[in-house]
Structure formats: structure tokens, C-alpha cells
């Protein structure tokens, strides 16, 4: 007959109300876990990807730090030339200009991500470990090499024709082995083809591969000094930027889930408040028998905490289940697990649920502990 048992008995005495409140907290926590699991999954996938990217330095126009995907081609030929000369002078292994083009919409099965590389540049210089499963690894002047996942979901095969513009066609010349990385979702094409499609001579970024023994930080700073108007980012700088961006997106997603959390909290507060009003006499009896105010306070607060924690734990399970289902889909479609329920997310979710219970329970608990005994017993 410990305090916990008293709390549990009271919740079980009103099963429907307790269950509905539990469901409210469950949905609120579950949706928060699901929202935040995207950030965790993205973080994991991104850092795995960045850690195996070949070139240690990515040069972008100044003020365009971060990722090159989706960025506008703003590096003109003269800047590229200056970078190539500076790279040669610094003794780097390779200077690779690259250009991205996206075609399609939100559905991964109809979206295509093209990466343009200078003719003769092997894609495995950028994504080490790439191998051709069929055909060639390096696309020719009018050819394209498909990542494994693109080939799988688009149904394209060797000899298929890709049309970048009404007049520009590329023929599939190779399909790559699956790596479980970003390259599985890319189509490697000649740089010139994308430049022609976009009607520009510019490139999006310039990737710099280092020679053995070279320090990325030192080379990056030397490139910035040698060429005006560029930012040379090392992999760790990109990672830092990515972390910052992900944190902001985490906050936005947490903000969205806050609405559900507030509703969940109000449900708990409502249930506990009603329970307090219904049990005024019971609390009076306890006080008459010798219970101190703190005992009643703990009793009510524990009720809120128990329901919130139970709802939180079940919500965490629901969120994890949702994340698992999403990963099944994204793994199938793009070969990446984009959602992850990490231990820190699980702890955070349980912490939020507990905080919710605490906030929802404090006021009713305080009220219950301050009811005068004579009033509670109806003896006025």
C-alpha cells in the first residue's frame, strides 16, 4: 500500500478517463519523437556521408557556406581557373569543378539528381569505393552513369535515354554497385552537359582532393588567400555548419510538436484537477488521520507524473515504430535511413513527458494539499 499503489488504484478506479488522458500524452509524445527523429536520422546519414566523401575541401562562393546541393552555379570560369592554378602551386592531388541539377518533385521515384563532373573524372574520386555493376564507371561526352538506387526505382538500364532538355539527350552507359550512401541516388554526367542545360559556364562548387601529407585547414586558408571571393570549407567546417542548420531545424520541429505537447499537458491537468475535486473528502480524511500537506501534494503530483511518464514511454514506442516505418520506405526509395530514434532523443522525450506531468500536476497538487480539513470533511 505504498504511495505508488494509492496513485495507481486511483487511476484504475477511473479507467476510461485515465486511458483517454494516456492516449493524449501518447499521441503528443509520439508525434514529437517522430518529428525530431527526422533530425537525428538526417544528422546520422549526413555525417556518415560526409565522413566518407573523398575531397577534403569544398570551395564555394563567399557567403554561400554549407551544402552545395541546390546552390546556384556562381563560380565563374575565371575563378575556376585561378583555383586550378593555386591548387597546382599548392601541390594538391586534384581540383574538380562540379555542378548539380535537380529534375522532378517531392516523390523520390520521379526525382533525379544530376552531378556534373569534368570529362574523364572518375566519380570514385569524390565518393571512394564506387564500382560499376554494369557498363562504365566514367561517363563519356554524351553518357550518364546511374547510382544503384536511381536505376532501381526509375527502371532505367544500360542504353536508356535521359533527356536533360528537349535537345540534350544522354544515354545510360553504366550502373553503379549499391554503397548505401548518397552516390546511390546520383546520376553522374559530364559537366558540360549540365552547363549546356542551364545555359551557363559557371560551376556550383570546386572540390579539392589533397595529396598525402597535406593538411586540409592549411590548404583551405591558402586557397582563400590566393583566390578572391571564395570560401574553402574543410569537411569538419561543413559538418559544423550542418550541425548548426540541423539544430535550427530541430527547434522548428520541436516548436511544431509543442502544440501537441501543450494539448497533452492540458489533458493531464484536466484529469488530475477533476480527480482532486472528486476526492476532496478523501483528502480531508487523510489529513484528519494525520497526513501532512506534503503527503497529499506528492500523492496528486505522482498521479500526474505517472500518467505522463506512462504516456511518454508509450509515445516513445509509437514514435520509434513510426520512424521504423518511414525508414523502411526511405531505405527502399533512396537507400538512406532518414529517421532515427537515438538514445538522446529517447531520453529527451521521456524528460519532456515528465516535465509535462510536473507542470500539469503542480497546481492541482498544491490546491489539494491546501484544502482546509473541516471543509474537505464537510464539517463546516
Amino acid at each position: 500500500m505504498e504511495l505508488f499503489l494509492l496513485v495507481l488504484r486511483n487511476l484504475l478506479a477511473r479507467p476510461v478517463r485515465s486511458l483517454l488522458t494516456l492516449l493524449g500524452v501518447l499521441v503528443a509524445t509520439g508525434s514529437m519523437v517522430l518529428f525530431l527523429s527526422f533530425g537525428e536520422g538526417l544528422r546520422r546519414a549526413l555525417f556518415q556521408e560526409l565522413s566518407r566523401v573523398g575531397p577534403a575541401i569544398q570551395v564555394v562562393p563567399e557567403g554561400a557556406e554549407g551544402f552545395v546541393f541546390g546552390a546556384l552555379p556562381e563560380i565563374p570560369p575565371e575563378t575556376l581557373k585561378a583555383l586550378e592554378e593555386a591548387g597546382k602551386a599548392l601541390g594538391v592531388r586534384a581540383v574538380v569543378p562540379t555542378l548539380f541539377l535537380t529534375r522532378g518533385g517531392f516523390d523520390p521515384s520521379t526525382s533525379f539528381f544530376f552531378q556534373g563532373l569534368p570529362e574523364g573524372t572518375p566519380p570514385d574520386l569524390l565518393y571512394p569505393g564506387l564500382e560499376a555493376r554494369e557498363g562504365r564507371l566514367i561517363p563519356s561526352e554524351k553518357g550518364a552513369v546511374l547510382g544503384a538506387k536511381v536505376a532501381e526505382r526509375s527502371g532505367l538500364a544500360l542504353g536508356s535515354v535521359l533527356r536533360l532538355t528537349p535537345r540534350l539527350e544522354l544515354r545510360v552507359e553504366g550502373v553503379l554497385e549499391e554503397t548505401g550512401g548518397l552516390a546511390d541516388n546520383l546520376i553522374f554526367v559530364p559537366l558540360r552537359a549540365i552547363q549546356e542545360a542551364l545555359g551557363t559556364e559557371n560551376v556550383t562548387a570546386v572540390l579539392v582532393a589533397l595529396s598525402p601529407g597535406q593538411k586540409a585547414e592549411a590548404v583551405a586558408r591558402a586557397l582563400e588567400e590566393a583566390v578572391f571571393g571564395v570560401k574553402a570549407q574543410t569537411t569538419s567546417e561543413v559538418m559544423r555548419f550542418a550541425e548548426r542548420a540541423l539544430r535550427i531545424s530541430d527547434l522548428v520541429r520541436f516548436g511544431i510538436s509543442l502544440v501537441a505537447l501543450v494539448v497533452g499537458g492540458l489533458l493531464v491537468a484536466n484529469t488530475v484537477t477533476m480527480s482532486v475535486y472528486e476526492r476532496v473528502r478523501e483528502f480531508g480524511v487523510m489529513r484528519a488521520l494525520g497526513a501532512r500537506r506534503g503527503f497529499i501534494f506528492r500523492l496528486v503530483l505522482m498521479e500526474a507524473l505517472l500518467i505522463a511518464l506512462l504516456g511518454g514511454a508509450l509515445g516513445l514506442g509509437l514514435g520509434a515504430l513510426g520512424a521504423f516505418a518511414i525508414n523502411l520506405y526511405t531505405l527502399d526509395q533512396v537507400g538512406l535511413a532518414l529517421s532515427a530514434v537515438t538514445p538522446r532523443l529517447a531520453l529527451f522525450a521521456l524528460g519532456v513527458a515528465l516535465g509535462l506531468g510536473l507542470l500539469a500536476g503542480l497546481l492541482p497538487a498544491y490546491h489539494a494539499s491546501r484544502i482546509p480539513v473541516v471543509e474537505a470533511l464537510g464539517r463546516v
Binding site: M1, E2, R9, E282, M286, L289, G290, A291, G294, R379
Partner: protein, 227 residues
């Protein structure tokens, strides 16, 4: 243990009007049973509220031996009640989600007894009031008389020297009334029992009867063959 009430007065406001619920009540309750009788509104319940420390007097004080109950904080008064007082109410006031055994063990939980010891003590008390077959029944499954016997067992859980009973037989049928009254007087014999009642027949079983009227103590009597 004696309870001493000194010039106990309770006034409260009802709208614009001041109501005097109890006025200048002075009495020392010695060990043994004392019945407090009087018509409705005579101040019986107010007196019990003040003696038990449920409420504070407007004037005067209550002393449990040397302890000035009226000068203590709410939590200190709760502590005094736990250690020194037992209660039997007209409405039984059992905790509905606890079984008979757990209800009796409740004061022991508050006093910090270990679980095994509390349940053993509660079972022993329930046996004393003839409810050994009802240990695991919820109050809703017990008759009025049985609930009152559970309440009596609960009042005795910590073996308090003072027992308060407020209309303990008020809601019971004739048979249950006799049974509860017998138990109350036999188990309360060695204690200071303050019995508030309308029932003059029940009051006659006490050693002393205090008559209240209009918030004042108007008469004290010792029933024939008592005191």
C-alpha cells in the same frame, strides 16, 4: 491522556452576520468516555473540530496534556493527530480505492511502519472487530455496520490515547448500532473517548454527559451507575 479546553470560542462570519458557534467552553476531558449531546447547531461538531485540531479557535485553547494544540501549525497538528488521536465519523469515511485491510493500515503507512508489520497489525485489528473474513473487500462491498467497524479498527491502528467518535451509529440499523456501540465502548475503555451524538441512549453509556446549547456548555451529568 487528558484534553483540556480553555475558554474555547469559535466565531465566524456568515455574510454580514457574525455567528458564535461556541462560546467560552472550558472543560477537562479525563480518561474514559465523555458524551457531548445537544440539538443541531448547539456547537457539538465545532467543539470536536477544535478539540481534534481540524480548525482553530477564535479565542481560548486546547491542550493535549502539555501540548498546546491551538498554537501548532497545520502539519504539526496533523502529526499530533496521527500519534495521539483516532477518529470514527458518522459517514465512515473509508478510502474507497483501498481494501478494508489497507484502510486500517493507512495510519500506519503515515507513521512509517514497514509494509509487513502494517498489514499484520491491520489484520489483527480487523479480527478484533469481527471482520477477519472481509480483509480484502473494498468499502463498496461492505455493509454500513461493517464499514463502521473498519473505521473503528483504523482509529485504533496506532493505539491512540484519545478517540473521537462523531455520531458513530447515526447511519446504522438497530443491530449494527448495538454492535458498533459495544465495540466502541469496549475498545475505547482505556482511552479518552469523546463521543458526539444525538442519541441519548448511546450517550447514557458514557461516564459523563456534557449538554451543549447555543454554543455553551449548559450542564454536565454523570449517568446513573456511571462515573
Amino acid at each position: 491522556m487528558t484534553i483540556r479546553a480553555e475558554n474555547l470560542t469559535k466565531r465566524y462570519r456568515q455574510g454580514e452576520k457574525e455567528v458564535v458557534a461556541l462560546l467560552g467552553f472550558t472543560y477537562t476531558f479525563p480518561p474514559g468516555a465523555t458524551a457531548v449531546v445537544g440539538p443541531s447547531g448547539s456547537g457539538k461538531t465545532t467543539l470536536l473540530n477544535l478539540l481534534a485540531g481540524f480548525d482553530l479557535p477564535t479565542e481560548g485553547g486546547v491542550y493535549l496534556g502539555d501540548i498546546p494544540l491551538h498554537a501548532l501549525s497545520e502539519d504539526e497538528r496533523a502529526g499530533v493527530r496521527l500519534r495521539h488521536m483516532g477518529f470514527v465519523f458518522q459517514q465512515w469515511n473509508l478510502i474507497p480505492t483501498l481494501t478494508a485491510l489497507e484502510n486500517v493500515a493507512f495510519p500506519l503507512l503515515l507513521a512509517g511502519w514497514p509494509r509487513r508489520a502494517r498489514l499484520a497489525r491491520a489484520a489483527e485489528l480487523l479480527e478484533k472487530v469481527g471482520l477477519e473474513a472481509r480483509l480484502h473487500h473494498l468499502p463498496s462491498r461492505l455493509s454500513g455496520g461493517e464499514q463502521q467497524r473498519v473505521a473503528l479498527a483504523r482509529a485504533l491502528a496506532l493505539d491512540p490515547p484519545i478517540l473521537f467518535a462523531d455520531e458513530p451509529t447515526g447511519n446504522l440499523d438497530l443491530e449494527a448500532r448495538e454492535q458498533v456501540a459495544d465495540l466502541l465502548f469496549s475498545l475505547g475503555e482505556a482511552r479518552t473517548l469523546v463521543l458526539v451524538t444525538h442519541d441519548l441512549e448511546l450517550a447514557q453509556r458514557a461516564g459523563r454527559i456534557l449538554h451543549l446549547k447555543g454554543g455553551r456548555l449548559v450542564r454536565e451529568e454523570a449517568p446513573q451507575g456511571k462515573g
